[in-house]
Symmetry: C2
Subunit: 244 residues, 2 copies
């Protein structure tokens, strides 16, 4: 592994939230020697931006391109890298000669990503023995400050859905109102009132109601919707409800 | 200037928005030799977080403590530092021997801050000949990517006020609804409807209406309000309107 291609001092950590059918998971890696869990992450190449680094790392860990990816916070406690027990275990394992590199102070740029977990192929990196989706409420303690990074990403996502739309790329192209509500309930970890949800969601003007209904259920066939992508993008920029 | 106390590769740039009485300004520094304008900024000490660095830099440039300060984005174009004509001018001036330091790639963490500009004392740094408040719509082109950083900070602030409260520390403890509306109009750069503004603002439940009115105006004395700090803080965390 040639570390000379990377910038010193700067790393990227990615909280990859995976959704499907009312489940919310997070992508974790299990380290080779210490068997501890970690978020996918990596370093920043000398010729790339931090966004390119995060995109590259996610592509390597999931096989996916073009996913919703957002910088959300920088983690810079001076002693954070020293909280990494993996460094001393790497010494013991003899696996890596570049210990000065791993012992330096890293400032980590936190990103979060939203994907359909059925479309991703979890792939371990050089330091890990496996990569897998874990349910969001069944996550073991993570190395360094990764548990904090995960918690902050979740808080950011929950605040974000109060002012920006979500769901594109996470739901089928055509979806029902209950499916959309289920996505919100999954992220928020709580039940929402059906009528209030529908009224509020329709007021944002980001949905097209389709003339079709979803067939095959036991109940009355619910209407199908699709996102109005033009308004959806505007709401991403200006906030739901159009701001002030 | 002892540069050995700082981390390599990481800098902080601060967009300091100053408000008072319907005016919105931004704090800029004018560089000594090139006379170009720049945002206040600096490097990160080896023992401090990026937040501590930004707080320290703002204290040095404004004399103010305890100001609203928020990380909003990382700027990491690989060539961004090379866009700095000040480096070659520093060579010509003979002012600084540490050119390797300034020529290295820096990833800059952008912060924005909100202050009452009448309470700040603009203070130049080692590299600048003066520090001053400029009206937000009368800003000359800035060095490197600082014009972009300013624009992104302004976009973030405008989106933020669609989902989080603002005004604490920028308005007097007791203020009128027209004064609060003026603050929003100043940030947004547009007029708002008086009735809609009042109705929407009251619906957030972050204001206490006081039993007093503001005396001394030519018109009917308007009621005074204060922020309900408990609800204000909740809305900072969960979004205005309490989210979903």
């Amino acid at each position: 592994m040639d570390l000379s291609v990377y910038m010193n001092s700067v790393s990227v950590d990615c909280v990859v939230f995976g959704f499907n059918n009312g489940l919310m998971k997070v992508l974790l890696l299990k380290m080779k020697y210490t068997h501890e869990w970690t978020l996918p992450g990596g370093f920043v190449r000398k010729e790339e931006t931090v966004e390119s680094a995060a995109t590259r790392i996610l592509k390597e860990r999931t096989g996916l391109d073009n996913i919703f990816l957002k910088q959300f916070r920088v983690f810079s406690e001076p002693e954070r890298s020293k909280m990494n027990p993996a460094v001393s275990d790497l010494v013991a394992s003899g696996a890596n000669p570049d210990l000065d590199w791993f012992a330096q102070r890293f400032i980590s740029i936190g990103f979060y990503a939203l994907v359909d977990f059925t479309k991703a192929v979890p792939t371990p990196d050089y330091f890990s023995e496996k990569a897998e989706w874990r349910n969001i409420d069944e996550v073991d303690p993570l190395i360094i400050d990764h548990s904090l990074i995960l918690q902050k990403a979740l808080n950011t996502l929950r605040l974000q859905i109060s002012y920006q739309p979500i769901g594109y790329n996470l739901l089928p192209d055509k979806f029902t109102m209950p499916e959309l509500q289920k996505l919100y309930e999954t992220i928020l970890g709580k039940k929402l009132d059906r009528r209030n949800f529908q009224r509020r969601m329709l007021s944002f003007n980001i949905l097209n109601k389709l003339p079709e209904t979803k067939k095959g259920g036991a109940h009355k066939a619910p209407f199908l919707y699709e996102f109005n992508l033009e308004n959806y993008k505007k709401a991403l920029e200006n906030g739901l409800g159009g701001g002030w």
